[in-house]
Structures are given as C-alpha cells and as structure tokens.
C-alpha cells in the first residue's frame, strides 16, 4: 500500500504509534555521518563493505572437539598430570556410576525382551556424557533431561530402588505409576520428571533458569544455582530448541544446554537432520558461549560442564551450550531395531573403537586404581543388586486406582469425583471383569 493511499484512510484507522519505544531502540545511536559501520538496532557493530561476498558455511573452520584423554585412556592435554581437579575416589565413583547404568541397561533391555516391562531405553555409549556432566553440577542445581540420561539420575543419587520403582510403575514410584518406563524424576536434587515430547524442556529450562536468577537477586544468601538442560541432536530440530536458546540469550538465563549428539534420531542420521556444523554452530548464532566436547571422554565432559556452569553464573547469568559427541551404539529403544537402517558392522566398529566406560577404565588401570578382579567383582555385585531390586519392585503393589484422577488439577474436580464414583459402580457391578487386587486398596481407593 502506498503512502498516499494510507493518507486517504480515515484517521481512526491509522495504527497508533507505540507509546514507548523499546529500550534497545532508544539506546542505539543514530547513524553518524561518515561512520564506517552500521548502527542499526538489529546489527549494532557491522562494518560497511563494498565487497559483495556471501558467507559460506563451508569456508568456515569446523568447531573443534575438546578432549582431555585419547581413546587409549592417555592424557593428551599439555602439562596434564591430573586429568581434572578431582580425587581418585570421586573418579572411581564416576566409573562405578557409568558401570551401574550399563549393567542395569543390559538387564532391563533383556527383561523387556522377555515381556517383564513394556519399554526400555538404554544409554549405551552415552554414559560418559550424563555422568560426567552431572558430576559438575551441585545438588541445588535443577535438571531438565530428555530420556537417555539415566547416568544423570545415577550420579545425582537416584538409587536402584528408585530406578526399579519407576520402571515397574509401582506404588513407590515418584511418578505415581503414570509414566512410561525411563521417565524418571526426583524432587531433590531437582530432576524434573521426563516428558516424552522432544525439546519441550528446552524453553522450560530457560524459564526455570530465569526463576533461579531472580531468586538469587531477591535473596543473595541462597547458593547460586543453574539449570542443566539435556537433549539430543534430533530434538534440536524442533522449534522449541530455537525458542529456548534465543529466549535464554535475551534474558541472560543461567542455563547450560547439553546436547548429546549421538548421530541418530531413531533412524534419521544427522545428514538428514541438519547441514550446518552440528548443534554447536547454532549457539554462536544466538550469541551463546559454546563448546564441543568428546562425549566419550568423561574428563572433558566434566571439565567443560564445570566451566560452563561457572560462565553461566558470570555477569548475573548467561546461557552456555555444550555439544557432546558420542555415537549411539544402542537401538533407539526396545521398540526399535536399528539394523533396519544401519549396518551392524558400523555399530560393532564404534563399540570396539571407543566407549566412555572402557576409556576411563584404561586410565584407571594405568593409574593402578582398577584391575580385572575389581571389574569382575564390581559387575557381579551390581548385577546382584539390580536383580534384587528388580524382583522387589516387580512384586510391589501398584498405586491406588484413585491416582488416575488425582493431580490433573490441584484438587480433584467435581466432575472427576463423579467419574470416580461411576468407575467404582462399574467395578463393583462387574467384579469378574477387573482384577484390582494388584492396586493398593483395590476398589476402596475410589
């Protein structure tokens, strides 16, 4: 519409001027005559050029991958005597935690195959990312995870009983038997319960981090906290990823985004997922401090996350992006047979080539902190412990049926109360049609 046409419109139709201009507009300087750079509000420091050159991603150097030790468990950093500023005992704890997740994965995958639980997801190959990053968090930090981070829960104190109660959705499950297996959650340390939809947790993590930032401003006596947010490279294609990073940057939120780039989103390889330099390159686009690390190197993951946490709390808070690289040696889930879309030899090759557990084990053995006997005994104890909790959790009662109706709202609605009453009438009218004995209090909870 031309300006003259606009002038002919009646006055009342004209869009009113905003009463106040935005802070950014008002703070930007107007273009000075003779200036060599742009001072538009959207590009505040861009030099003028007469060279019409399109920037090509292929001309840019690839973002490097940070590592501390190589795949033989040998430290590669210059003047590295200690891999990280952490005691041997703690490193052994990390190792045991990775091993425990791996042992649990093996048993639960097999158990699912035998029909003992409906679903399971292993995190084979990615234990180093979850355990190493969680080790750099404090118990007061908040975590939003995706679904392949059992190691985060393990490192943050989740017990085998907690895992098994969730997996069997029994009355001890903090999710009250409502969620699919591997959708863990805990109140403290705060790990928000896993939600299946991808990437939804990313903007939530930004908002949560903003809340922590404001709470720290309002009460300087509480410990400084960050939010750690986990997701895969596939989830990073969702709109929520872009929304979450951008809003975190604009509101300077103390959040560390940890992307597990494992090469596959179910069957879709990264080549069909994106064409840029991984997920890390996007962090820079949003003005976010970014690092790529070797996800099979637990020392690198730990160090990068610890530093990311420090940066996130700098200058009142800001987001950081960590892209951790590790091949998904497992199937996506028990519902997936990945050999339908990738060669078995490719997987076997990766398994042989590198693995976060074997890599740390090599380092520990070189230090004389670990050996074959310890390995065998530890694995055997872990298996026994998993199987014991497995059996106990499977025998445990399910939560009361009334739980189906609770927590939709803070209070059970009048409508839901009527539905509970109707359900009870059905269960009592047709008792032969329903087995309610496994549920705590049977029909009486309704």
């Amino acid at each position: 519409m031309s300006l003259s046409l606009l002038r002919r419109l009646p006055r009342a139709v004209r869009v009113p001027r905003p009463a106040r201009v935005t802070a950014r507009w008002s703070s930007s300087l107007s273009q000075r005559p003779g200036s060599d750079r742009v001072q538009f509000p959207g590009a505040v420091n861009s030099k003028f050029t007469t060279d019409m050159a399109f920037m090509k991603p292929s001309d840019m150097p690839y973002i490097p991958t940070y590592r501390v030790m190589d795949s033989d468990g040998v430290l590669v950093g210059k003047d590295k005597e200690r891999p990280v500023n952490v005691s041997d005992e703690e490193i052994l704890t990390w190792y045991r935690n990775m091993l425990s997740v791996s042992v649990m994965d093996g048993i639960m995958f097999e158990a699912q195959r035998q029909g003992r639980l409906s679903f399971y997801m292993v995190s084979a190959g990615e234990e180093g990312i979850s355990v190493g990053s969680a080790a750099a968090l404090t118990p007061d930090d908040t975590v939003f995870a995706q679904y392949r981070e059992a190691g985060v829960f393990q490192q943050r104190g989740f017990t085998l009983k907690d895992f098994m109660s969730q997996l069997f959705a029994n009355k001890n499950d903090s999710g009250k038997g409502r969620n699919m297996p591997v959708h863990y959650g805990s109140n403290y340390p705060r790990n928000h319960t896993i939600s299946s939809p991808l990437a939804t947790q990313i903007p939530q993590a930004s908002g949560a981090a903003y809340a922590l930032k404001l709470q720290a401003l309002q009460n300087p006596n509480i410990p400084r906290r960050i939010v750690a947010c986990y997701f895969g490279e596939g989830a990073a294609s969702e709109g929520d990823f872009h929304a979450g990073l951008n809003i975190a940057a604009t509101r300077s939120c103390p959040v560390v985004f940890i992307c597990r780039n494992n090469g596959y989103a179910i069957s879709t390889p990264t080549l069909e997922q994106y064409r840029g330099d991984g997920i890390a390159s996007r962090g820079l686009g949003y003005g976010i401090d970014t690092i790529r690390v070797d996800g099979n190197d637990i020392f690198a993951v730990y160090e990068a996350t610890r530093e990311a946490r420090r940066i996130a709390l700098e200058d009142g808070g800001k987001p950081v992006l960590v892209e951790a690289m590790s091949y998904r040696v497992s199937h996506h889930s028990t519902s997936d047979d990945s050999f339908a879309y990738r060669a078995r030899v490719e997987v076997e090759d990766w398994k042989r080539r590198d693995n976060p557990i074997i890599r740390l084990r090599k380092w520990l053995e070189n230090q004389g902190l670990w050996n074959e006997d310890l390995e065998r005994d530890t694995r055997s104890q872990m298996r026994k412990a998993v199987l014991q909790e497995f059996g106990a959790a499977e025998r445990e009662k399910k939560p009361p049926i009334r739980v189906a109706f609770e927590d939709v709202y803070e209070e059970v609605t009048e409508e839901a109360q009527a539905q509970m009453k109707e359900l009870r009438r059905i269960l009592e009218t047709y008792p032969e049609e329903y087995d309610v004995r496994q549920y705590e209090d049977g029909v009486n909870s309704l």
């Binding site: 097999e110 299946s196 969702e238 069957s267 069909e272 409508e415 839901a416 059905i426 549920y439």
Partner: protein
C-alpha cells in the same frame, strides 16, 4: 554380557506380558478382541467387491492396517506424480512400517525423511499443497502433533478462507498420524486428539476402523477432496486388524457414516478401534436380552460429520450411545449427543449416553480403568434400554 544364569533364574517364567491389562480368568465381557472372527472385518475375499462397489472380478489381498496404508500410499504415489510422502523416519519405512519400500520404489525426491520438527513438516505440506502438489505428511504419533497445531489451526484450516478470490488453498494435503491406546503408551503414546481438530472448521478429520476402510478413505482424502485432511490411524490396529483389501484404486466417500449393523432398540455411534468393543458388547447384550437388537454406526469422518445418517437411525431406535476413547469432556460425544437432542428430541426414550475416556490423562497403570471397555459399553446399553 548379561549373566545368563541369575537373570534367567529371575526371569524363569516363560515370556509373558505382565504389564499388560490381561483379562481376569473369570472375564466374560472384557476379553481380548478376537480380530479373526469379528464381524467388522472382511475375512474372505468374496464379500469385498460388493462392499466397495467394485466389479466382481476385483482381486484382493489379506492385509493388516499398516500394510493397507502402505498399499494406499503406493497406489497414490503411482497414480499421480504430485503425491509426496514425508515425515520423521519415513525413508526406512516409518516406525510403524507404513512407508516400507516406498522410497526405493518412488525415489528420495518424493519419499523422504524430514528433520524432527512437526511444525516444519505440516507447514512444509501446506506450502507444497498451495503450489499444487499433493503432500502426505506423517506425524510419528498423534501425541506429537501439537507443535504443528498453529500450522493446522491458523494456516491449513483458514488458507482457502483467507485467500478468497485468489483461489489459493492447501486442499491437497493429508496429515497422517497414528493415534489411540495400546495398553502401555501412558501419557504420550496414547492420545486421540480428534476432538481438538474437529473443533476447527476447515480441516476434515477422518479415522478408519479397518484395513480396507483405511485404504479407501486415505485415497479419497488424497484425490477426491480438495480440503486439508487429518487422517488418524488407530495404531493398535496396525498389526491386529487383518482383512481382505482390494488391490486396485478405490475410494470411500468422506463425511459419510456407515451403518455396520442394523437394529431397532438402541443406536451405538462410534469410530476407530472402540467399534470392536461396541460390536462385542452388542453381541453380549443381544444374547442376554433376547428380542433386543442394536444398531451400530461408524462415523468414519469425525468432521464434517454425517448428521443425517445418525439422526435417521436415532429417530428409528429412540435411544443413542456415543463411544470413543478420548476424554469425555468437550469430546466428539458431546457434539453428537447435542445434535441428537436437537434433531430427534421427541423420539428419544432415554438420555443420550456417552461412554468415553474419563476426564484425565492416561496414566500407565490406569489405562484399563480410563478407556471404554466392553463391560462399560454393555452397562451403558443395558441402562439405556432399562431407562
């Protein structure tokens, strides 16, 4: 690796699905649906041609639902070069195998993987449709369609209305998605959001009950109607429901319900998988109450829906029950019941009943108490008859 002995000791029972909602030994109503004998499926080839208005020489093949969808997609891709098929993991055949071998047959230009972005997938389909193609977009689970809600509600549905005289529209598109409960899908692999889409004028919402219905309705959605279609596939039927499906191209009109079984005393209206539960409940009630006969109607298209067929039936029977999986609150049942009381009030002998999911989420351990089952439908028919 895994310790065979202790694990096997613990897991010594033969493979069993302990987590599943198995019937109790005394169950008489809530038995697993026997898809091999249900009257809702064509178990032999002979009844197929007449059912779909095809010549007697028509050949058919016994297919399950995912194979029938695959057959419909193959038929569509070979019928028109305008047809495209894409979505997450579509290239290797899809997580439910509906697109198996189609990339190999039709090439990666027309059958391809997308990045993991539902809003991107649906927006992409709208754009392709607006430029004259016939995109078939797959959303991996209906539970994951919500990032695309904006594209569906504000764009696909309003495209033709907004463009007006330009004639622009997104009518060529179909968005397919598996939906519904399977027994262990919990919050995010169970939902059936047809009512949310049926609230939006401008999109057609379709849910087939069987393999042969799915092929005819899907081909109709792609070729016979120039409107955006939300095509919801009850995923529990992908493998379970098997019937004879015509090999050739055929269509089933949208917005046309089907009377599956005539009756005089109650009209039961449903769609998708619960039709099998309704059929079982009707068999039980007709056995226990001799002389009673129940009419069963499959809506097939949820919106715009076939009001005349439903009203005509209820005017005859005087009693109606609507059955669906998704939540009762503001659901399809509410719309159907309101239409019936408006259009057949003086013929009603009893209030219109709704048997549907309760107004809650589908918590893993509670699904069998939340979803309609044969006993609840049986009870509703009995109560309606005895009102």
């Amino acid at each position: 690796m895994i310790p065979r002995s202790p694990l096997q000791r613990l897991l010594r029972n033969p493979p069993c699905r302990r987590y599943s909602a198995a019937p109790t030994p005394s169950s008489r109503l809530n038995l697993p649906i026997d898809y091999k004998s249900t009257p809702l499926l064509h178990h032999t080839a002979s009844s197929v041609p007449r059912a779909y208005g095809l010549p007697e020489s028509t050949t058919s093949k016994s297919l399950n639902l995912y194979q029938a969808i695959n057959s419909a997609l193959r038929t569509a891709l070979s019928t028109s070069d305008k047809v495209l098929l894409f979505g997450e993991d579509v290239a290797f055949g899809g997580v439910f195998r509906c697109s198996m071998d189609l990339q190999t047959e039709f090439g990666s230009e027309r059958v391809f993987n997308t990045p993991l972005t539902e809003q991107g997938i649906v927006g992409f389909a709208i754009g392709a449709a607006a430029e004259g193609m016939k995109p078939i977009a797959e959303i991996q689970f209906a539970d994951y369609v919500f990032p695309a809600f904006d594209q569906i509600v504000n764009e696909a549905a309003k495209f033709r209305y907004r463009e007006g005289g330009t004639g622009g529209n997104a009518g060529g598109m179909v968005v397919r998605m598996p939906c519904g409960a399977v027994g262990h899908g919990a919050l995010y692999h169970t939902q059936s959001p047809e009512a949310l889409f049926a609230h939006v004028p401008g999109v057609q919402v379709v849910m087939p009950r069987s393999p042969a219905q799915a092929k005819g309705l899907l081909l109709s959605s792609i070729f016979q109607h120039n409107n955006p279609v939300i095509f919801m596939e009850p995923k529990i039927l992908y493998r379970a429901a098997v019937e004879h499906v015509p090999n050739e191209y055929y269509t089933i009109p949208l917005s046309k319900a089907e009377v599956l079984k005539p009756g005089n005393n109650v009209t039961v209206i449903s769609y998708g998988q619960p039709l099998y539960l309704c059929s079982a409940a009707i068999t039980a009630i007709e056995k226990s109450m001799p002389g009673v006969s129940i009419e069963l109607i499959d809506l097939r298209t949820i919106y715009p829906w076939d009001r005349p067929t439903v009203l005509e039936s209820v005017k005859k029977t005087g009693r109606a029950i609507v059955v669906h999986e998704s939540m009762i609150n503001y659901g399809v049942g509410a719309e159907v019941a309101a239409t019936i009381q408006d259009g057949a009030f003086l013929r009603l002998e009893a209030p219109v009943k709704r048997v549907a999911g309760w107004s809650t989420h589908t918590g893993l351990q509670y699904e069998k108490f939340i979803m309609p089952d044969v006993a609840r439908i049986y009870d509703a028919i009995k109560q309606t008859l005895e009102y």
